[in-house]
Amino acid sequence: MPECQHQWEMTNIQFGFVAFEKCFHCNDLRTYFSAEDNPILGDKYREGDHYWSRVENAQTFTFDLKCTQCNHTEKFNDLMGLLHCTGCLPDCEVEIMRNKLEAEKTWIVVGFGFLPQAKTEPIPPRKLDMLTDYFNQRRDTSRSKIKVVPFNLIGDLARCKGDFIHDVGMLSLEPPPGRKSPF
């Protein structure tokens, strides 16, 4: 029997927040999804050697992809978000790939998992390819395409100035004023 040529649709959509917490003791960053209604900024607590403080909340959603042909469902609860490459680091592999693929009208977005787990267990390429297929299946690919790439292609995360496609500050109706990279 031939393998299913999956046709993806979003399912199990849940709106909430990505919380960014920073340890002011060791500067570690961690992120997680929260379905709470009213996220609190500046919430501080101690956990072992860490002193965590919530530094940012971004409205977002979680979802799974379901194949409309075979009903296979792939969970994406490990996806923190998608990052738009701004071309900030000329020697970054994402930027090199972006320059190369732009000529073919293929636009790159970087798939991020939640930190710190994503550093040791990045979202598998198989799942990023599913996301790529999902975005391309719903668009006219003769005009342009999307490619989702893993975040470990970013050479220096600390210097990355890519923009998360998140609703940070969206409720203020003002552009985020010189938003600092959380890394």
């Binding site: 409205q59 342009s144 999307i146």
Partner: protein, 111 residues
């Protein structure tokens, strides 16, 4: 119906450089997450948000155009990024509610 038809019929102002394309349906939201979860390819996206993060979201979903309502001023960096991605940024002085009414009158609805 195309983006060019809409510009002529409703008097929208084109801010970015783009190729005209077919329009199919309308999606109204001021949240990127809502758009990425719910908007469909070729939809018009109506919003009052103007910062440049709307461009990659519009590109991901492949909307036919973003219409900034209520005469909000759009920063130049948003317009420049949209032009780079061939995303139509259109502007209207009409409030979102009134513009939705006009679009509905032209036969457009949610897709």
């Amino acid at each position: 119906m195309t983006t060019q038809d809409l510009i002529e019929k409703i008097g929208l102002k084109a801010l970015s450089k783009f190729e005209h394309r077919d329009v199919d349906g309308v999606f109204v939201s001021d949240m990127l997450s809502d758009v990425m979860a719910g908007a469909k390819s070729s939809n018009l996206w109506l919003t009052i948000q103007t910062h440049k993060s709307i461009v990659p979201a519009a590109n991901l979903v492949d909307v036919s155009a973003v219409i900034i309502t209520s005469g909000k001023e759009v920063p130049q960096d948003t317009v420049d990024l949209a032009s780079k991605y061939n995303i139509a940024i259109l502007s209207s002085d009409l409030a979102t509610f009134e513009l939705v009414g006009r679009l509905y009158g032209l036969g457009l609805g949610s897709k």
